[in-house]
Each structure stands twice: as C-alpha cells, then as structure tokens.
C-alpha cells in the first residue's frame, strides 16, 4: 500500500492489486476506486442516475424559479437581473483599522459590509474586564461604546450601503448602536438596510457565544424581530444560521434540519407574542455553510427553500409570498480549509463558491486561503473577493437560473436531503420544539457524534483531505500572517475609561435604571437599549444588566 507521501496518477490495473483470491471484474474494466461512495451526510451515491430516479410529480415539486416552492430560486431570473451580494466578512483591531479595511474593500468592488467583532464584544465584555485579557481586537473589531461605532462607520453613508453584523448575545446593543450612528448621520431607522445575526438558538447548539440561558436569550431575539418589523422594513432582524452548526461538525442534513428547526422555533415564539406571521416573516433571513460535497450542497440549498416555503405557507398560514422565501447568505466552509499547503484553499473556496451560486444564494462570503492561521491578510482577502468576481463575470453560470435543475442526480439528491432533514424536524417537534431539544442537549449530541465520526474517517483514510492525509509535502509555503498589535488592547482600555468618564452621568444612570426595570417586565427591550446606548453606556455595562436579570448560562458537557 502506498505510504501516502506521493501517489502516482495511474490507476491500479487488476493484476497489480493484492492477491487476496477475490474475483476480479473483466480485464477491460479497472477495479472501482472506492466501493462505497457517500455524500458527507452519508447518503449513498448511485453509480448512475436516470429519469427513473426522479419522482413522478417532479414538475410540481420543483416548480419554477420565483414561484412556490422556490426550489429553483427565489427570483424568476436570479443572477441575470442581479448578482448575489459579495459580502466579505471583515473586522480586526480597533474601529479605525476596520474602517480602513471597509473603505478598501468598498473601493475594490465589494457591495455590502459585513462586520466581525472580537471575542470580548461577542461575549458582552468591555476591554478592561478580566475575561477580555489577551483577546481585544484579535478575532474581530473591538466595539465597546457608541463612540467606537461612530468611528467604525466614519465616512460611510449608512443609507447607501447595507451592513451585516455577526453578533449574537449582545446583538441588541450593536443594533442600537448602528441605529444611533444612523441618527447622527441624519438617517432614520426605516432607511437602514442590513442584517444582525442575533440567532441565539444556534449559539446553544454550536457556536457557544452566550451570556444568558436559552429562554431569556430567545426573548431578546424576538424583541428585535418585533421592533424591526415595525420600525425597520429594510432590516433583517435575524440571520437563522446553519453555518456554525455545520462548522461544529454537523452533516449537511443536520445543518439543514437544525437550522430550519431553529426557524420554526423563532416563528412560534413570535406568534406567541401575537404577531401575525406576515408581519415579520419576510425579514427572516438565513445563513448556510458551503462545504466540499459539491452536489450535496446545491441540493441542500434547494431543499432548504422548498422545506421553508412549504412550512410557512402550510403550517404557519403565511399569505404573503415574501414570507415563504428562504433568503440566504452563504459562507464557504472555514473548517474545510487546511493549514498544510494553504494555496490549495483557493481551489477549495472556488468550488464551494460555485456550489453556493448554483444553489442560488442571495449573498456570499468566500474565505481567504490563510484563514486557518490567523485573520486574513489584505492580499488573501482580495483573492477571495476576486474568486467571486471571476465566477460572476467570467464563468457564465449567471446566465440562467438554477442551471442544474432537472438533472436526475440533483433532483434525486434534493428529494433525499429534504426527506432526511424532515425526519429530524419531526423528531424535534415531537420532543416539544427546538428550545426543549436544546435544553436536553439533543442537537449538541448529534453534532458531537458526527464530528467524532468524521475525525475517525479521516484518521482511517476513509475520507481524504488533500495535503493532510494524502499528497502531503514537507515544504512549508510562507504565507504572510497578520499579527495583531497588543497595543490595541491597551489603547482600547484607555478609550473605554475615557468614555465612561466624560459621559453625562445623569442620563446614563436614568437609562440604565429604566433598562433594568424593563428586563424584568414584558416590555420590548429595544427602545431601552437605544436610550442606554445614546447615553454612552458601554456594551459590558448593558450586558451586565442582562446577567443580573437573567443569570449566566453554563452548558452541560454533552458527548
């Protein structure tokens, strides 16, 4: 058996194979490469797909792009009329640094902003909190007060760009800050366009950036959905995410199922509040991972749209066709990138991006080749953006919607992925819904099992990762790595102390008292957080109010 160091390209001829006494196929046909072809979710892939593999009612099941159930895409012409948004995640260091990176990317042709925050911000800590030690400005931009937010968007007219903010536990604070910055630019909330991720259910399942336990966290998400439905018609108040679930180890089917289950959970909570589904559903958005299994990912996108449309119309009685549409952002799979031979990642990302486009995504982030080592360098981030531009302008795949529609394989696989996901969704319904399932650790356990199984497959070389367990090389390609200046932490601490010192103490304490009271009531918290933010309360201070009111979450160890 080859030791995996180098491998010839010639396939083995039957008489070279091990003499194990097994019957050989006819001499003219080489032995099959792998007796077991499966998608990453474990769905067996047949040696051939024919018309017989397509369901008899295929035309009705699949429909046309822009029509229920939207299997083929949300719009009749898709990218012929308008390309997907090229939205590259950016954020590091201080607000000034990220503001510079924003301006750079906008000048390079990026069409929407996407903000990454540092760990202390994501977890609701100010830079001078002991838990923030060593982490300020590292994995994203440090935003602790309205002052930071104003600097972050300096020179960027908020009525002319859309901004996605990847923030969850303290999302209501960042949303309030964005609105306040808009106010200072003379732009009212109803003119602001963008997304705040604010999907706490997937935090408990996968990403694990939380402050409070599940039920109060979901309450705050619903507050945002409710408030934005009334005051921010162009704003996506939640991005129901599969990306993190996938990255934590879920299969494509599990990613699809748990994300949709989360969506069902939010819809049910909103309806419990008395909202009409058509009031808020058009502004729910989604976020998929795009992983390596090319056709399975395309099937997942298509199945996702079909499942959601059917649920919204038939289970929740939505009347507005825009309520039936699963609008999604997509990001190529970070977890599929390798530190070994990082240039290979450019090829991976290109294929994944193509799958997302053939899957019909509304917006796309492509990872940079050096992202396993650290935050991307400017050069690597540019190549990632160019990958999308090459797809859009050179490849011709935008000329017609859902180019793979009607393919025997794609339709069969879409049906299969849908069926498997629905099984999970039914099981979660039977448990009493996703919040209960999360409290019991059900999706967490499924994910841990899939992750462990995958790792074992890789270590047994049943799954190949090029450059890692096959085609390895000894040389190390030097990719310039972005180093974060530890001065940033010191400066950010100084700045937050200055903000606390110079703000109007009276306005601050009135706003915080009102917020504290509101937390213990049934009132919508968004206006109270807005007042606190305008009074320059810090992110950490507002998060502490939540900690006091709702407690701090500790998860069970689920294996």
């Amino acid at each position: 058996m080859a030791n995996g160091r180098t491998e010839t390209a010639t396939p083995k001829r039957p008489r070279d194979a091990a003499s194990d006494g097994k019957a050989r196929p006819a001499a003219s046909e080489p032995a099959p490469r792998d007796p077991r072809f499966e998608t990453l979710s474990g769905i067996p892939v047949q040696p051939l797909y024919t018309p017989a593999d397509i369901a008899p009612d295929q035309e009705a099941r699949v429909g046309r792009p822009g029509e229920f159930p939207f299997t083929r895409g949300l719009h009749p012409e898709m990218y012929r009329t308008r390309l997907w948004t090229m939205r590259q995640f950016a954020g590091f260091g201080t607000a000034e640094h990220t503001n510079q990176r924003f301006h750079y990317l906008l000048a390079q042709g990026m069409t929407g902003l996407s903000t990454a925050f540092d760990m202390p911000t994501l977890m609701g800590y100010d830079p001078d909190h002991p838990m923030a030690l060593g982490e300020v400005g590292r994995e994203g931009v440090a935003i602790s007060s309205l002052e930071d937010m104003e600097i972050l968007f300096r020179g960027i007219p908020l009525d002319q760009v859309t901004t996605s903010m990847t923030i969850n536990a303290p999302a209501v604070v960042l949303l309030a800050m964005y609105i306040a910055v808009g106010e200072k630019q003379g732009i009212p909330p109803e003119k602001l366009g963008g997304t705040v991720q604010a999907d706490m259910l997937k935090e408990f399942i996968a990403q694990k950036e939380w402050i409070c336990p599940p039920r109060p966290s979901v309450r705050i998400c619903v507050d945002m959905i409710e408030w934005c439905a009334k005051h921010m018609p162009k704003w996506n108040s939640i991005s129901i995410s599969g990306y993190h679930i996938r990255e934590a180890g879920a299969t494509a089917v599990q990613e699809l199922a748990f994300t949709i289950a989360d969506g069902i959970g939010y819809v049910e909570e909103c309806r419990k509040r008395g909202m009409d589904v058509d009031e808020f559903a058009p502004r729910l958005s989604f976020f998929w991972d795009v992983h390596n299994d090319f056709f399975e990912e395309i099937a997942k996108f298509r199945a996702g749209r079909r499942i959601w449309a059917t649920l919204m119309r038939d289970r929740f009685g939505a009347k507005n066709p825009r309520s039936w549409q699963l609008r999604t952002h997509a990001q190529t799979a970070g977890v599929s990138l390798t530190a070994q031979q990082p240039l290979n990642n450019v090829a991976r990302v290109a294929l994944q991006a193509l799958a997302a486009v053939l899957g019909g995504t509304q917006s796309l982030h492509t990872n940079s080749m050096d992202e396993t080592l650290a935050l991307p360098t400017e050069e690597a981030a540019t190549v990632a953006l160019r990958t999308q531009q090459i797809l859009a302008y050179e490849s011709g795949v935008t000329a017609t919607p859902d180019p793979l529609g009607g393919s025997y394989f794609i339709e069969a696989l879409t049906d299969r992925v849908e069926a498997e996901a629905l099984r999970y969704i039914h099981r979660i319904d039977e448990m009493g819904g996703i919040i209960t399932a999360v409290e019991r650790g059900y999706p967490q356990k499924e994910i841990a099992d899939s992750a462990y199984r995958f790792q074992q497959q890789v270590e047994r070389e049943e799954r190949i990762i090029v450059g890692v367990n096959k085609f390895q090389s000894d040389e190390e390609v030097a990719i310039p790595v972005l180093k974060i200046d530890p001065e940033i932490e010191r400066r950010q601490i100084e700045r937050i102390r200055a903000v606390r010192a110079k703000r109007d103490a009276g306005a601050y304490s009135r706003a915080m008292t009102a917020l504290r009271d509101a937390c213990l009531s049934e009132k919508n918290l968004v206006p109270f957080v807005l007042d606190a933010v305008r009074a320059y309360a810090t992110l950490g201070e507002i998060s502490d109010v939540f900690r006091e009111a709702y407690g701090v979450y500790r998860e069970p160890a689920v294996f």
Binding site: G551, P556, F559
Partner: protein, 329 residues
C-alpha cells in the same frame, strides 16, 4: 530518564499532615493513591482515621438530564453562603470497552472553580466488581480530613451505581423531572427504595403535578419504614427550591441522628464496610496469587471444547481455589 513517583514520594504521615492542614494538592494526590488501590493509600487512610469529625455525605442521583449537576452547584452555593467548606465527588461511568471515561461534571460547577473552600473531584467507576462505594467512601474520608463540612456525591442513576451511592451516603437525594416517567420505569424501583429526599427539578415544566402524584403513590408502596421521603420541587437553574431541599436534608439528618437509630445505623454501615473490604481484599489476593488468568483460560477452553458446562467449570475452579487456600494455610 525515568523519575518514578515512589522515589521522591512523601510518606503517608507527611501527606496526612498536609491534608489536615488543608493542602489541596496533598488531598488530590492522596485520592489518586486510593483510587489506584495502593498500600500507600491504605496507610494514609489509617493515618487520618478519626482525626476530624466526618462530614455528612449527601448522595445525589437520578436519570441523565434531571439537572443533578446544576442542583449540586446551587446547593454548594447555599452551603458556601453558610460559610461551610464543601467537598464534591462526581462519579461518571467508565467505558466498558475502552477503560476510559469522560468526566464532565465540573462544567456546571464553574462558579466554584476558583473557590479554595470547594474541593471537586471527578471519579470514574472503573468497572469495579463492587468496591465503588468503598472507594467513594475513602475519598470522602480524605475530604473530611481536609475540612469538608458537607460532602456531596453526584452519580448518574444507571446500572448499579445508585446502590453504591446509597451505601456511601448518609442521605440520598433522587432527582427527577416531570419528564422522568420513562426513566423511572427503566430504572426500576431501586431509585425509589434508596431515596431519602425526592427532588422534582424543572418543576415549572408541564406535567409536574402529575409526576408528583405518581411519585406519592409509588412511595406509598415502600411501606412504613419510619422515614417518609419528602418531595421537594425545585427549579435549579433559577435557584428555586434549594433552601427547601436543604431543610429536608437537615430534617433527615436529625432523624437518623436520633440516638437509638444512629448507633444501629453506624454499626450496620461499619459491618457492611468491613465485609465488602474483606471480600474485595480476599478476591484480589487470591486472583493475584493463583495465576487466575491461566486457570481461567484453561477452564474456558474446556467449555469451548464441550468438556463441561460453564457452571461446572466455575464450580470446579472455585473448589480448587478454596482447597489450595486451605493447603497453603
């Protein structure tokens, strides 16, 4: 090169002194000696025996997902609020296939993770043929010497471990939830037999009333054994009901502490403890001395060849071992 631990290891007497002065590292190392069944461990136990008042041991068991860890963490918080030093032994199952274990109970106890007056030790069952209760009890003795005023023993109520927990504890709390119906069927009457206090956690969930009623009726079947286990409702994650559980435990302690009962209980426990230790000691000594594995292989081969039934083979082997023991004495 190699630096085997025994070369520079302190004596049992030294470790004992360190433990009595509250040295956590010494406690931990003492616990390892005991878990590994080493003679140094036994010497250590001899040294610390009777040096401190034993702390009441509260066993907390129940089906997975009942919220035991959260309850233990919240109870420890209450006890710390009364300035009491707290010991926690958290038991999790060893995988019968690999011999390894994931001990994850500390995760929920983050609040106490830097409190020097809370000692948390995670213990794997290690697939013992009995001996788990003894080992748990031994660790509790070290915690007594360290200065614990209450020791909490947390286990999952599956397999035999709930019986072990009963043996090692002075009071047993069985934690259930409104959803535990199936679990109780599966886990049989055992749980109900050993419970001194029943906690109905997640009491805000649907079905709490029905579950409480079901529990009351199954308790009625226990007959009148003197102590009637109260049913306490809690919502551990919101810190509700912990005081009530504490009161129930204090009440149980007063009940068992009443002179007549206490003496009889103590005698029974001591007898049981010695009996189990002798049983384990004899068995281990014999197994080591008589090349048991080889005998076992021979017996198994015989059975596989069809020469005798497994029962016969076992009986023969036992008789031979007894005769051998008599001869060498």
């Amino acid at each position: 090169m190699t630096a085997p631990a025994s070369q520079s290891a302190p004596s049992a007497g030294t470790i004992a002194e360190q433990i009595l002065s509250g040295d956590a590292r010494a406690v931990a190392r003492g616990m390892t000696l005991i878990e590994n069944g080493s003679p140094e461990g036994e010497a250590l136990l001899d040294r610390i025996f009777g040096k401190r008042e034993p702390a009441p041991r509260v066993g907390i068991t129940g089906p997975p997902g009942a919220g035991k860890s959260t309850l233990v963490a919240e109870y420890a918080r209450l006890l710390r609020g009364e300035e009491l030093q707290v010991g926690v032994v958290a038991v999790d199952p060893t995988s019968p296939f690999t011999g390894g274990a994931i001990l994850g109970d500390r995760v929920r106890m983050g609040e106490h993770a830097t409190d020097p007056k809370v000692f948390i030790r995670s213990m794997a069952t290690r697939g013992s043929l009995g001996g788990l209760a003894a080992r748990t009890g031994d660790l509790c003795e070290l915690l007594d010497a360290w200065g614990s005023r209450v020791t909490l023993i947390e286990t999952v109520g599956v397999g035999q471990s709930e019986l072990d927990v009963a043996e090692a504890s002075d009071s047993v709390v069985v934690v259930l939830t409104p959803e535990s119906g199936d679990a109780i069927q599966a886990l049989k009457a055992g749980l109900m037999e050993i419970a001194d206090v029943i906690v109905l956690n997640k009491a805000d969930h649907a079905g709490a009333d029905a579950m409480e009623a079901a529990l009351r009726s199954s308790l009625a079947f226990r007959g009148d054994k003197g102590w009637k286990p109260p049913i306490v409702r809690t919502i551990a994650i919101e810190r509700k009901g912990i005081e009530a559980m504490h009161e129930a435990l204090l009440e149980h302690r007063r009940y068992t502490g009443a002179a007549e009962r206490a003496a009889a209980l103590r005698r029974e426990k001591t007898r049981l403890r010695i009996r189990n230790a002798v049983r384990d000691g004899l068995l281990n000594a014999w197994l080591e001395r008589q090349d048991f594995d080889a005998e076992l292989d021979r017996a198994a081969d015989g059975v596989l060849r069809g020469e005798s039934s497994p029962h016969r083979a076992a009986r023969d082997l036992t008789e031979r071992m007894i005769r051998h023991g008599e001869r060498t004495n």
